[in-house]
């Protein structure tokens, strides 16, 4: 199980939780499983083809997954996967 950190805009889609546990041996599997359990998250971060939108940054253990192996980045027990969309608010 990995711990997925949920950004404020997606917390409603997971029942208000800030973190959610999800199984999977890669970052991609973890997110696929998360989106199956919480389809409202999938509707926001995945394209209809099941790919991650470009506007979603993913960090594995605080490292940018684009610089790791992206969705193939291996994860396991105790690892964290952070979903990070940009925020615009300032006022």
């Amino acid at each position: 199980m990995s711990t997925v950190k949920i950004p404020p805009v997606l917390r409603q889609a997971v029942g208000g939780e800030r973190t959610v546990e999800a199984p999977g041996s890669t970052m991609g599997e973890v997110l696929t499983n998360l989106c199956q359990a919480h389809p409202a998250v999938g509707a926001q971060i995945l394209t209809p083809d099941g790919e991650l939108h470009k506007y979603v940054n993913i960090y594995v253990n605080d490292e940018d997954a684009r610089l790791l192996q992206w969705t193939d980045t291996p994860v396991g027990e105790g690892d964290t996967v952070m979903i990070l969309p940009a925020m615009a608010g300032g006022a």
Binding site: P7, P8, V9, L10, R18, G28, L31, T32, C35, Q44, I45, L46, T47, P48, D49, G50, E51, L52, H53, K54, Y55, V56, N57, Y59, D62, E63, D64, L67, W70, T71, M82, L84, P85, A86, M87, A88, G89, G90, A91
Partner: protein, 396 residues
């Protein structure tokens, strides 16, 4: 018998060559003269000195000379008020092994009588020394740093949630000029967090309202109110007038506009964004570190990026994040410490955690990459466009 003062001067005169102001002035003016060491007291130095001179009071000569010279063979010209203290100082340096030391005959007085150029150091006024005394006490800031802040110009995009604390603290810190870009007026619902505004200024332009608060806090700060929205027609002119820009905007078109414009004008961009209990902060140093688009190549669609007006924000969060921005701006202006360049800091007020993510320059960045074709675009249309299309990344 012990030597008298006159004996000491005579001995020094035998050991140290003297130069007349007229001999050395051409070299000093052309900038290829010797290193000038002025050994007078601070109060005398503050009245003016030779151009380019370094101030080492006589009492600190032996202890400080090593730190300001490159070696004992460096050419040195020692000066004081009339040429006597400097003669003895020059003799001391010769005794310490300095082999190329001369004395300015007649000192600063004769130099000035002959109308050679004089530099008068800028110093804090007594009132400024008192107001900023807690800054002056910090070695990393000091009087020099405070003077630098007083000369600095910071542009704030937005005088709202983030802009309120940022502007307030930068004004208190003595940043000499603050530009406030905001076309909005103060609303009662702003006052839960926008602490620079007041109940009796509801309805007033936010820049104007902030200007009043700043005038009451620190009247010496020049506040430029820009009561309009920043756009691609005005942004470059605006940024050209400032040293640092602090982004506290509340929408993506403005944020991507500022990201690109800060690159084009090479203006450091201090970034923060906030929502509910969470804040992001980073500092983008143009072409030196990653830019905003290296971090976030595209904005999310509107339903994934609600504004604080739509989704709410903890008022106090603005204070935390706005002051992180103010801190970063001061560090950039003074060139001290490590900024958030290359790092995104995420503050979670609910968990009371700070998480730091590394941000790297993207070699394919469409804004700052080597092949980028950077030009200002219609950011409203672009943000709406990328949000409505499926721009796929890799498979999930």
């Amino acid at each position: 018998m012990s030597p008298s003062y006159q004996d000491l001067l005579a001995q020094a005169r035998e050991a140290i060559p003297e130069v007349e102001p007229s001999d050395i002035a051409p070299r000093v003016e052309s900038g290829d003269g010797p290193l000038i060491i002025d050994v007078r007291e601070t109060a005398e130095w503050d009245q003016g000195h030779l151009p380019g001179a370094i101030h080492v009071p006589r009492g600190f000569l032996e202890s400080r000379i090593g730190g300001v010279t490159s070696g004992t063979d460096q050419e040195l010209l020692i000066s004081c008020a009339s040429g006597q203290r400097s003669l003895l100082a020059a003799k001391t340096l010769a005794d310490m092994g300095f082999s190329n030391v001369t004395n300015l005959a007649g000192g600063f007085a004769r130099w000035k009588q002959n109308n050679y150029p004089v530099e008068v150091p800028r110093i804090l006024s007594p009132a400024q020394r008192s107001r900023y005394s807690r800054h002056v006490l910090i070695p990393e800031v000091g009087e020099e740093g405070q003077l630098k802040l007083l000369d600095s110009k910071v542009l704030l995009i937005g005088a709202g949630g983030l802009g309120s604390p940022t502007a307030y603290y930068l004004a208190a810190a003595g940043v000499g000029t603050l530009g406030l870009v905001d076309d909005d007026v103060v609303d009662e619902s702003n006052l839960q967090r926008q602490i620079i505004h007041t109940t009796d200024r509801v309805g007033m332009n936010k820049g104007e309202s902030a200007k009043q608060a700043i005038a009451a806090l620190n009247p010496e700060v020049q506040v430029n109110v820009h009561p309009f929205r920043v756009n691609r027609d005005n942004v470059l002119d605006l940024l050209d007038q400032y040293d640092v820009v602090v982004d506290g905007a509340d929408n993506f078109p403005t944020r991507y506009l500022m990201a690109d414009a800060s690159l084009m004008t090479r203006t450091p961009l201090v970034h923060s964004s906030i929502l509910r209990f969470e804040g992001h902060a980073s500092t983008f140093m143009p072409y030196d570190g990653p830019c905003y688009r290296c971090l976030f190549p595209e904005p999310p669609p509107p339903d994934l990026a609600p504004s604080c007006g739509e989704a709410g924000v903890l008022g106090v969060l603005c204070g935390v994040m706005g002051n992180i921005q103010a801190t970063e701006a001061i560090k950039v202006l003074l060139g001290m410490g490590d900024t958030l360049s290359g790092r995104l800091m995420i503050y979670d007020a609910l968990g009371m955690t700070f998480t730091e993510l590394k941000v790297r320059r993207d070699p394919d960045c469409p804004s700052c990459g080597p092949n980028a074709d950077l030009q200002l675009r219609d950011y409203e249309a672009w943000c709406a466009g990328v949000g409505s299309h499926d721009h796929a990344g890799a498979t999930a």
